[in-house]
Amino acid sequence: MNDEAVPAIRPSRPEDQPMIPQPLVELHGWGRASGTMAHLAQIDSVADAVSALRTSDSRRGVVPRGLGRSYGDAAQNAGGTALDLTKMNRILSLDAAAEPPTVTVQAGVSLDLLMRALLPFGLWVPVLPGTRQVTVGGAIAADVHGKNHHTEGSFGNHARSLDLLMADGHVRKVTPDGDTAALFWATIGGMGLTGAVLRATVALQRTETAYFSVDTDRCSDIDDLMQKMADGDQGYTYSVAWFDAVTKGRHMGRAVLTRGNKARLAELPVKLKRDPLKFVAPSLGTVPEIFPNRMINKATAKAFSEVWYRKAPKHRVGELQNITQFFHPLDIVAEWNRLYGPNGFLQYQFVVPFDQEEAFRRCLEMIVNSGYLSCLNVLKRFGDSNPSPLSFPMPGWTLTVDLPIEHGLDKLCDALDTEVVGAGGRVYLAKDSRLSAATFRKMYPRLEDFLAIRRQVDPEGIFNSDLARRLELSKPTAGGAA
């Protein structure tokens, strides 16, 4: 492996370069709505990436793509090129003796692969989103967060350095401090629009076991839930709640709150002590593409919510759970997004600051009373944000709902946007597939900082995506849509 052997490349003038013919393929996000067609370039080395960048059509540009887990159009690029980085999946080096330990990986390494490789050394990926099937590059570009945001921050907080393929064809190392700090932080949460992350060095944590000691509480309504979270979250490394988004009235927002810490070796029963770092990740196979629209209807959504609420214990302390139980129950089945049928679905995740509990409650009411049905609902308290201009998390309450695409859903989402903007909150770009450019600008007050960096490193807008076109980020110099 010799990734450093990149030929000296002059700034690309794509109109002078021959196009590499690549077939158009349809690419969509995890929500499977609004897919478009792009040239998918298979990237096996840094040299491949540089060459794909040089030969791409400058009018449509390139976007890096990993495992396609962002819900919307972030890794789509209609008429342009998508760099498929999933084959850049080697773990390059590990420094287990350092404090904190660090690992250097190619961008296409998935968190699943990384966890499997690190656990035998007693090392732990510090931030895990709701699925392990995301690449390190994607986790950086979306600045993903997990159940431990209130204690550990988001993924970008743990990145130590990035190798960034820039629009001029050069690969540049950027770090959170020093001369390259601004570009580093713009890349964190930058949705692949500052360049393509090709490799990253990430700080790790140590762990004695791969198990969690979990406390579960059933909360009778939204106020009960928020009170319990506000009072007790600081006592746990991990905290998240599933809530019922179907039941109206007195029990609106009833929820199951699970909070926990990494289990110490001494806490494990004898049976588990034999293999305390066992990676338990069962797979029940792949969901076939046979489900119609409207699988989520009043009957199924009500039944699911009732069962999910009732099956949880009222109050249980110290239960041992494995990685899949605690973190990634959805990873048991592959392609679960097919359950929503061919029309697809969208995920609406927003955050509002801590003093905006009233707006937060109004949003929940709007969703519950809208008639649109969501089963996979998550509520969490965020901790501090990081210096990234486009990073999503900020201190406050975040709520996530999954909504199948149906007639009139835009009205509900627009109404939620208005409430969220009014409260000084924002919507998560990795989940978004519908925000308008104008609303987006109101949600991200530091957008201009991001655009200033982008104007500097990519004045032509070579890095481009459907999301960039939708949110009018694609031509930084013109400042408008193109």
């Binding site: 478009t36 449509r60 342009g80 519908r434 308008s436 450019a437 459907d466």
Partner: protein
């Protein structure tokens, strides 16, 4: 980009002062929507632009002269100058006096040029643009009159038959490039085009047509009748033997 809930970012309305085109614009209108109104310069165009701007749309007026084929390329260039077009609607057309049209060569030629030649010419230009951007919709306003051409308005009907066939074919050709084409076959639409005619059963309003179009785009359908019941009616009429068809009061 058309977002996940079906809202476009930009519209191009060729024949931008037609009732159906404006009804589509009003259905999609929301702050920030970019609309290009391509039509002959007129008070009606200015008024339409003003109205759409008042609800927050960014409106550009572009001149379109259907019979001046040489001007089409410039019209399309201007229309795409602001960026990608998500939905382009070909909504202009001429009805003409049916009895005069088949006896007046100039009027017959005008109908053929406005209703068929110009849409084909513009359709090819649009197709090139859409192919390069690899997303978007072209909507062509056909008519049930073109599905089975009848004695009472066969010049008009024949132009729509040609247009219908061209855009169905264009849809097949552009499919592999990520572009969709929707062919719309309305029945009798109560609009400025038909103001002089008597209303018949199953007639619809321009807004009905617009609603059917927005639904079809969200549902990714490529051929619709408005109202939907006309599909069954036309399916029957297509197979009526000529001697009998001749006697029908159509």
């Amino acid at each position: 980009m058309i977002n996940a809930v079906g809202a476009p970012q930009s519209l191009l309305l060729l024949g931008g002062t037609s009732d159906i085109a404006l009804a589509i614009a009003h259905r999609y209108a929301r702050p920030g929507l970019r609309i290009v109104l391509a039509a002959r310069p007129s008070d009606r165009r200015t008024a339409a632009a003003t109205e759409l701007k008042s609800v927050g749309c960014e409106v550009t007026e572009v001149d379109l002269e259907a019979r001046d084929h040489d001007s089409h390329a410039a019209t399309i260039d201007l229309a795409f100058a602001g960026g990608d077009i998500d939905i382009a609607v070909i909504a202009f057309g001429l009805l003409g006096d049916a009895e005069r049209a088949w006896q007046d060569p100039d009027l017959a030629l005008e109908l053929a040029e406005v209703n068929y030649a110009a849409p084909v010419h513009l359709g090819v230009l649009l197709g090139q643009r859409m192919q390069a951007q690899a997303h978007g919709w072209i909507v062509a306003l056909s008519s049930v009159a073109g599905e089975r051409v009848r004695r009472s308005n066969f010049v008009y009907g024949s132009t729509k038959a040609g247009l219908d066939g061209f855009f169905l074919g264009l849809g097949e050709a552009l499919r592999a490039h990520g572009v969709r084409v929707l062919v719309v076959r309305p029945g009798f639409v109560k609009s400025k085009m038909t103001a002089a005619l008597d209303e018949i059963p199953l007639s619809v309003t321009p807004d009905d047509v617009a609603e059917a179009i927005t639904d079809a785009i969200q549902g990714k359908r490529e051929l619709i009748w408005v109202p939907g019941t006309l599909r069954a009616v036309m399916s029957g009429l297509r197979h009526v033997p000529r001697p009998l068809f001749r006697r029908l009061p159509l």
